[in-house]
């Protein structure tokens, strides 16, 4: 068993580097299209997309309906555009 553990894939807790690209998440939380590298976990795409879609929904409940959201981090920018209850998400790592 110990030998097998060496070859099993462990999910990283943190992403080493955010790739550049975009993906689309629908209103049911499913990823319908992506230009991100195949190695980028779909689970993370769903998490990023989920936060963006959730922000659109909850902002509207506050009387602040949004059609675009930009999250500016020191190391990257995440932009989301509302699309029929889902969103198109763009990931842009910053170059230093």
């Amino acid at each position: 068993m110990g030998l097998l553990d060496l070859f099993s894939k462990k999910k990283p807790d943190k992403v080493e580097k955010l790739p550049s690209g975009s993906f689309r998440i629908d209103s049911a939380g499913q990823i319908s299209a992506s230009t991100l590298p195949g190695a980028f976990p779909e689970e993370l795409m769903r998490e990023i997309g989920g936060i963006v879609v959730e922000t659109f929904k909850t902002a509207a409940e506050q009387g602040l309906p949004l059609k675009e959201l930009n999250l500016d981090y020191a190391g990257a920018k995440i932009a989301g555009r509302e699309a029929r209850g889902g969103a198109v998400i763009f990931l842009t790592p910053r170059k230093f």
């Binding site: 807790d13 943190k14 992403v15 080493e16 580097k17 955010l18 993370l44 998490e47 990023i48 936060i51 959730e54 922000t55 909850t58 902002a59 409940e61 506050q62 009387g63 602040l64 309906p65 949004l66 059609k67 675009e68 959201l69 930009n70 999250l71 500016d72 981090y73 020191a74 190391g75 990257a76 995440i78």
Partner: protein, 359 residues
């Protein structure tokens, strides 16, 4: 004291609001023009700062213009009111004037009509600047008292200035008593004379009122005029009791931010206190505060998970307005900026806000 005039325009059509805002901002008096797309939002703005003039449409979903005017007349009686309506109906007009509005205007349909509309609004602003008591347009309270005394009237003049109410009792043309802000007789009379504007009602005479003022009305007016002159010269160091503070809450650090170009609402959420918020022109302070706090936590934890470093800001392009969340060491700001601003104008405004908030 700033001489800038503040105008609030209320209409449920965003495009109309932007058009009026652009035109009225260019009036000679260079007023600050703010907009509200509902009666509820208008009340939130009125509660946040005082406006010289409210211009409202009548037909709006939810709270209509008449309902809004009823509240404004009762609560913000120093604010001049203008109705602009697409409906040219005499009954509407009569009802609006009956509520004490200053002007009823039809919505302009051409550029010329827009010019006339702007001239009329400027006229109301000029009257407001000159002071005066509503009911007798541009008549000062001194003129009003003099005319009642000369006519030998017996009545009670009820004078309302924002949240303050004063009464002057007249008996056969003599001022026999007055009361305002807890002061009676001549002190009460002086308090009322310190008010620069407001509205009045003439009530039936109160025959049972005992005389507490024995000075002639000319003597009273002279004394009051002297007191006012001294106060204006700063000799009395007035504590501002006589100023109608309509909704002008102590905003602290939010004050300068609310003055930034294009800012429509501001809310600050304290990092240390779980429910600590301050707000300007926000309708739903508690729930927007909770939303800001919760979103910031979500965005930050996403950044940590993806190894993205510090969250600098979150901003959104909205259907009604741009929205930005600006994290700080002690608090987070949620800012609403007017929809007509371009992305570069929004960036400039956010930079200005960050500087002001940081300092």
């Amino acid at each position: 004291m700033s001489q800038e005039r503040n105008i609030l325009i209320v209409d449920d059509e965003q495009d109309v609001l932007e058009l009026y805002q652009a035109r009225l901002s260019k009036l000679d008096s260079k007023p600050r023009v703010m907009t509200a797309d509902s009666g509820k939002r208008a009340l939130a703005l009125l509660a946040s700062e005082s406006f010289n003039l409210l211009i409202t449409d009548l037909n709006m979903p939810g709270m209509d213009g008449f309902q809004l005017l009823t509240i404004v007349r009762g609560k913000y009686s120093n604010t001049r009111t203008v109705v602009m309506s697409g409906v040219s109906d005499d009954q509407y007009r009569a009802r609006a004037y009956g509520m004490g509005i200053d002007l009823f205007l039809e919505k302009p349909g051409t550029d010329d009509e827009m010019g006339t509309f702007c001239d009329c609004v400027e006229g109301v602003l000029m009257r407001e600047a000159a002071g005066g008591f509503r009911g007798v347009q541009s008549m000062s309270l001194v003129d009003l008292i003099q005319s009642e005394c000369l006519a030998g009237t017996s009545c009670v003049l009820k004078i309302t200035n924002g949240p303050m109410v004063g009464r002057i009792w007249l008996q056969d043309g003599d001022v026999i008593d007055a009361e305002a802000q807890g002061a009676g007789a001549e002190d009460g009379f002086r308090k009322i004379l310190e008010w620069r504007g407001g509205s009045f009602e003439k009530l039936p005479a109160d025959a049972g009122r005992e005389r507490a003022i024995f000075n002639s009305y000319q003597g009273l007016l002279l004394d009051s005029a002297q007191t006012l002159d001294m106060a204006e010269a700063g000799d009395l160091g007035l504590d501002g009791e006589g100023d109608a503070v309509e909704g002008g809450e102590n905003l602290g650090r939010l004050g300068p931010i609310s003055r930034c170009s294009g800012v429509e609402l501001v809310l600050s959420v304290d990092s240390a206190e779980p429910h600590g918020t301050r707000a300007w022109a926000v309708e739903n302070e508690a729930s927007l505060g909770a939303w800001t706090r919760e979103r910031m936590e979500r965005f930050r934890s996403l950044g940590d998970k993806l190894n993205l470093g510090q969250l600098k800001q979150a901003s959104g392009v909205g259907l009604k307005r741009h929205v930005a969340l600006l994290p700080g060491a002690e608090s987070t700001l949620c800012v609403g900026i007017q929809r007509s601003f371009s992305q570069s104008e929004v960036r400039e405004t956010l930079k200005e806000i960050s500087v002001k908030w940081g300092s």
